[in-house]
């Protein structure tokens, strides 16, 4: 399986932003420009996340998705405030290849299958925002603002049966910190699902990405590490190749 290196762009329309532990977001620039730059560097996928959509009860990135899809010919995934089949279908019509659900599917797990029935499960990603709680992790919603009382591991184990195509696992504790990813979280979730798992949060070095690949992650989603130019796509892919991990060149 070819390992994917994915760029994750948090959007507070119209800006690219980045926070720490999913809060305190700083403006970084024009999203489409960053996306194009990563595409030209050889990134495998672009993930857009509208971090305020669930506050305003609407998904608002359709225009950005269309703009990007016209210039950037790699897969585009979009999340944030997607609640209904119509929301998901509209995003796909606008140019998205995949949509990502969190808040909506924790409130109503059946929405996963409803959307998958229309778009196919490969187009439906479930995003989990995991916050450490005792010896496990708890699932948060609304971009890390709200508790659900749902255990992450329990939730992850159900997702294949609910019709999801992929899991995007964000470590809130590691997010934006550059202190390395949560390897335990990755291990624990990989053990309970057959779905592809993408880990997000805390990466600083190519070595950390190599370890995640060797653990069995299907890919990593990078934000701070790329936006703040700590590592380049080329460095990451060269390191992965050296370690015997197959990547797309």
């Amino acid at each position: 399986m070819v390992f994917r290196v994915i760029a994750r762009l948090d959007i507070k329309p119209p800006n690219l932003v980045k926070g720490i532990h999913l809060e305190g977001f700083r403006k970084l620039g024009v999203p489409a420009e960053f996306a194009t730059d990563y595409y030209l560097q050889g990134i495998d996928e672009i993930m857009y996340q509208d971090i305020v959509a669930s506050l305003y009860e609407r998904p608002g990135l359709a225009e950005l998705v269309s703009e990007t899809a016209s210039e950037v010919f790699i897969p585009i995934s979009v999340g944030g405030g997607i609640r209904t089949i119509e929301d998901a279908a509209n995003m796909v019509r606008s140019g998205a290849d995949k949509i990502s659900l969190n808040t909506a599917c924790l409130r109503n797990p059946e929405i996963i299958n409803q959307i998958a029935q229309q778009l196919g499960s490969q187009a439906v990603t479930v995003a989990i925002e995991a916050k450490k709680l005792g010896s496990s992790w708890t699932a948060m919603t609304d971009s890390g603002r709200e508790h659900t009382g749902v255990d992450v591991v329990e939730w992850a184990s159900q997702l294949e049966g609910l019709g999801a195509g992929e899991v995007l696992l964000t470590s809130i504790d590691q997010d934006g910190t550059f202190s390395g990813p949560d390897y335990d979280l990755l291990d624990t979730v990989l053990a309970v699902t057959n779905l592809p798992v993408i880990l997000h949060g805390g990466y600083l070095t190519a070595e950390q990405i190599v370890i995640s690949a060797q653990q069995g992650a299907s890919g990593v989603a990078l934000a701070s590490a790329l936006h703040y130019k700590k590592i380049t796509v080329d460095e990451i892919k060269q390191s992965l190749l050296k370690a015997g991990v197959e990547v797309r060149l």
Partner: protein, 207 residues
């Protein structure tokens, strides 16, 4: 040359049109089969489930138009779900028939052999019975996103495969004027666009 893209409400029509526009093709969208006749080349994309896709094609009248086009000898290209629907049926929606343009079926990817869906970049290798006139896309990575793989029965079909490690999947098939592409050339970077252009050119040169 006029390329018509079938829009049945469930595809990633935007990215397909964006890719074709980037390649400088004249593109027209068809919503109900009425534009298919005028097409030099018809493209059927798809991001949806087999059942949902076939229901829509039947409801809009496009199913008939696509069938007629396949018999006309003019180029017909299916992308992802579009290609799968050219076959007889799919494990994804066992109670619904495909268009049956090409003999074959879609079967589930095996979860024992790897994570499903097959989501990501896969190396594609061309079959030995294909004339080596498309050197620029053999042994390259293309973007796949699917839970079902195509099995084509026609022995005359030219097939290339994607290697998932423990399992091979059909990446492309071509029989006469009909081509089916499992991956997303419109999402596989610049060489994906080149591949799409070559595919269109190859089929058109046979007309």
């Amino acid at each position: 040359m006029k390329i018509v893209v079938a829009d049945y409400g469930l595809g990633n029509i935007f990215s397909v049109v964006a890719a074709l526009s980037r390649l400088n093709y004249e593109v027209k969208i068809d919503l109900d089969g009425s534009n298919v006749d005028a097409a030099d080349c018809l493209i059927v994309p798809g991001v949806a489930s087999f059942g949902a896709g076939m229901s829509r094609l039947s409801a809009t009248g496009q199913a008939e138009a696509i069938l007629a086009h396949s018999l006309s000898g003019k180029p017909l290209i299916g992308l992802c779900l579009g290609a799968q629907m050219f076959l007889n049926n799919s494990d994804e929606s066992p109670e619904i028939s495909g268009l049956g343009i090409v003999e074959g079926r879609c079967v589930s990817l095996d979860t024992k052999l790897g994570r499903v869906p097959n989501q990501g970049w896969t190396l594609v290798q061309q079959a030995s019975n294909i004339k080596p006139d498309q050197d620029d896309w053999r042994h390259q990575y293309f973007y796949f996103s699917h839970s079902y793989k195509m099995e084509v029965d026609d022995k005359a079909a030219q097939i290339s495969t994607g290697n998932l490690g423990n399992e091979n999947v059909t990446a492309t098939f071509q029989i006469e004027n009909v081509a089916g592409i499992q991956f997303h050339p419109e999402r596989s970077g610049l060489h994906g666009l080149t591949f799409l252009q070559n595919q269109i050119t190859t089929l058109c040169s046979m007309c």
